[in-house]
C-alpha cells in the first residue's frame, strides 16, 4: 500500500492549472436511485437513475489585476461566464501518465468570497457536471513544457471497451510566435498499430476542449497522445485525460 500526499494533486479547469491557487478540492460522482418496490416485495428495490457529479474548489484570492492576461480573476471569470461549462481534469495523484483522473465538463452553481480576521482572502467555487463524466486515466502531464512534436507515454487499460468515452484537453500555457498545437489520442490493440481515436481542434493559445467517443465505437486497450507542435519558438503545457464510460 502506498498513500499519496496531497502536494501531488493537480487540477485543470478550463485553460488554467489551479493547484497553485487552491487549498482543497472535492470531486464527486453520484447516481440517482429510483425505487421500484412493489406491494409484494419484502425489501425495498431500486434501479440506477441518472449520473451526476460535483466539483468543489476552495482557493486563495490572487491580487493580480483583472486586466492581466491569464490572471486568476480572468480564468475564474471564464469559468463563471461559460454557460456550456468548461472541461476539467482532477488529478489527485498528479498527471503522470496512467494516474487516475476525474474527467468532466463543469459549470458553476455558486460562488463565495471570504475574508476573516487573521486569514487570507479566499473563495469557494461550487460546480456541477454537465454531460457524461467519470474516472479515467491521465494521458499527458502538463508539468513539462513541450517545445517540439511529442508522443506521450503509452497507457495500457488492459482491455478494450465500446461504451463510449469522454476526453478533455486543457492547454494551460502557450508561448512563441504563431505557436500551434495539434493533439490526437491514438489507440491500439497490439501496441504496434496505432490509429487516431480523438482529434482536437488546433490550439494556438491557452484553451480547453472536450471530445466524446460515441458508444459502440471500439476503444482499444493501449492509448497514447501524439502532439504536433509548430510555429516559431513554440512552447505548450497541456493535460489530457480520458475516461471510458
Amino acid at each position: 500500500m502506498a498513500f499519496v500526499a496531497t502536494h501531488t494533486s493537480r487540477i485543470t479547469i478550463g485553460d488554467r492549472e489551479w493547484s497553485g491557487d487552491l487549498t482543497s478540492v472535492d470531486s464527486s460522482s453520484n447516481v440517482d436511485v429510483i425505487e421500484t418496490t412493489t406491494l409484494s416485495d419484502t425489501s425495498k428495490n431500486f434501479i440506477a437513475g441518472l449520473n451526476s457529479g460535483t466539483l468543489l474548489c476552495n482557493g486563495l484570492t490572487d491580487s493580480a489585476s483583472a486586466s492581466s492576461a491569464n490572471s486568476q480573476w480572468q480564468d475564474l471569470y471564464a469559468i463563471r461566464g461559460d454557460s456550456d461549462g468548461v472541461p476539467a481534469i482532477v488529478a489527485l495523484e498528479g498527471f503522470t501518465a496512467d494516474k487516475k483522473v476525474w474527467v468532466a465538463q463543469v459549470t458553476e452553481t455558486s460562488w463565495t468570497n471570504t475574508s476573516s480576521v487573521a486569514g487570507a482572502v479566499s473563495f469557494t467555487l461550487n460546480m456541477e457536471t454537465t454531460g457524461d463524466h467519470g474516472q479515467g486515466v491521465s494521458l499527458f502531464d502538463p508539468g513539462t513544457a513541450k517545445t517540439a512534436t511529442a508522443t506521450g507515454t503509452v497507457v495500457d487499460n488492459s482491455a478494450s471497451s465500446n461504451t463510449g468515452a469522454v476526453a478533455n484537453l486543457c492547454v494551460v500555457t502557450a508561448s512563441g510566435t504563431s505557436p500551434t498545437l495539434d493533439v490526437v489520442i491514438q489507440h491500439s490493440a497490439d501496441n504496434s498499430s496505432y490509429s487516431t481515436l480523438v482529434t482536437y481542434t488546433q490550439a494556438t493559445g491557452t484553451t480547453s476542449q472536450r471530445k466524446t467517443v460515441a458508444s459502440g465505437t471500439t476503444i482499444n486497450r493501449y492509448l497514447k497522445v501524439v502532439a504536433t507542435i509548430g510555429g516559431s519558438s513554440p512552447s505548450f503545457n497541456f493535460a489530457v485525460g480520458l475516461s471510458r464510460l
Binding site: 491500439s188 490493440a189 504496434s192 490509429s195
Partner: protein, 55 residues
Amino acid sequence: MTKYKILVNSEIVDKNQKAIKKLKAGEIISDLTPAQIKGLTANEAIEAVGAKTKE
C-alpha cells in the same frame, strides 16, 4: 494481393514508439503484414477494397 483502404490516420510504431510507417486516411495500400492487418482491423482503421464477392 488484397488492397486496403485506410479509414483513419494511423501509424505503425517500433518498440520505442517511433513511427516506422504512417498511413493517411483515404490512402489505399497493399503492403501490410498479417500482424498489421490484424492490428489495424482491431482499430477499425482499414477495410479491404476490390474483394471478390460470391455471385
